[in-house]
Subunit: 175 residues, 3 copies
């Protein structure tokens, strides 16, 4: 249904500082796009990173912040002629856990929107399960939830790309 050359839905997966956000942005070209930020500038380090990303994207992007109700926000903003970049599902998951939200329910809502998106959407997410078992129960819970988020969103997406050292590896591509 999309008028845009991007697939209906794309997941860009990668480790920390793998270049996944820059790669995701590179998919968009120069036409107007919407940046849906799940992160909030809670401290100086975070504020600086958000600002750095904003300057990299340039003036053709508009920005919307939504830390928790991602499915509802996407449902409101998706449309065929303006692609959306969600950066990132890991921060969204972290926000949901801190707010005591029901993760499976929130993830279910997101997957419903992704099943028939009204316009192209690219989502960025972290791979966090390739180290040793976390020491804390909270760490293990986060890792488990993140794994489920990545699996379920990947199952809904037309295209899934793994990024390492800034370089893409296509895991799934349904035309």
């Amino acid at each position: 249904m999309s008028l845009h050359p991007l697939p209906a839905s794309t997941l860009v997966l990668g480790g920390a500082r793998s270049g996944k956000s820059a790669f995701a942005e590179s998919l968009f070209g120069d036409s107007p796009a919407l940046y849906l930020a799940t992160g909030q500038a809670l401290d100086g380090e975070m504020a600086e990173r958000i600002d750095h990303h904003r300057r990299r994207r340039g003036p053709s992007w508009s920005t919307l912040e939504e830390p928790l109700d991602l499915a509802e926000a996407l449902d409101n903003v998706l449309r065929p002629d303006r692609p959306v970049l969600v950066d990132c599902l890991t921060m969204w998951l972290s926000n949901l856990m801190h707010a005591g939200r029901d993760i499976d329910r929130s993830l279910g809502h997101l997957c419903e929107v992704l099943a028939e998106p009204a316009g192209p959407v690219v989502m960025v997410s972290n791979e966090v399960g390739m180290g040793l078992v976390p020491e804390t129960s909270l760490g293990r819970q986060f890792r488990d939830h993140q794994g489920r988020v990545n699996q379920r969103v990947a199952a809904q997406c037309r295209k899934v790309v793994f990024v390492a050292a800034g370089l893409p590896l296509v895991l799934k591509d349904i035309p």
Copy 2:
């Protein structure tokens, strides 16, 4: 020597909650198969996960538990007409370390069986070396052993698949 469409030996490698077990199970189809479990239900969380996996596999699977003597168990149960799923090598390694076994010797035995398996076998293992250096000496030892297990088993297998977000990436495939 196998009558089964599965390769003689397959390693499915992935991070925690990467979907590697579900992917490994999907290779088996509907014919009878044996699940060789290396994990033990030592606590409620583990018992619940084991039970969840058992329900997912369905009634065509039989189950055998062997926490330590994996090579000997495989040698006993491998046969051409019934494939075996070993889930997982990471739990096996953890058991060996807790029991004070000689890891290299146990790994050597496993590789001997895998050199000429009497029937198809699929093994699941974790990638654990893509985080920062572990703080503890035990953590570093575990990571080193796991890396060696994965390398040596991968060298013996006909097929090696890396799974991320539930999606496979073939690393090796010898017909």
Copy 3:
């Protein structure tokens, strides 16, 4: 400009104990080569590992140690008829941080040399960003720097290979 069948520049990326060093060495064949070691034998464990690697490489290799000034060392030793193996960029980064060096400046110098290398060079580096967020600020800093090192070096290299369980996956290959 190279007379050697190796590409002008190669990055071999992988987790701990992924077999990345052995894979990198396997690219060299039997002709004379130079091993540029960034690691120093500060303790017995490290000394043993360095010695183990040296024995594996065999007598056609000469060795040079340079913990900090990698760009300058490469500039001195690169030449068309003798390839160089740098093992590894992770240890180099660790040394730079301990010595209080300016990481971006050192990385910039390395990238200048790699832009037009006077002979074939293969570099080994760790993927460290696929676990949970590190607990300590130093850990997060290290992970961030390592990600930047890998991205910038990968961007300069003709060939980039990801290694898991001893098996290569080509991420980039520019003839």
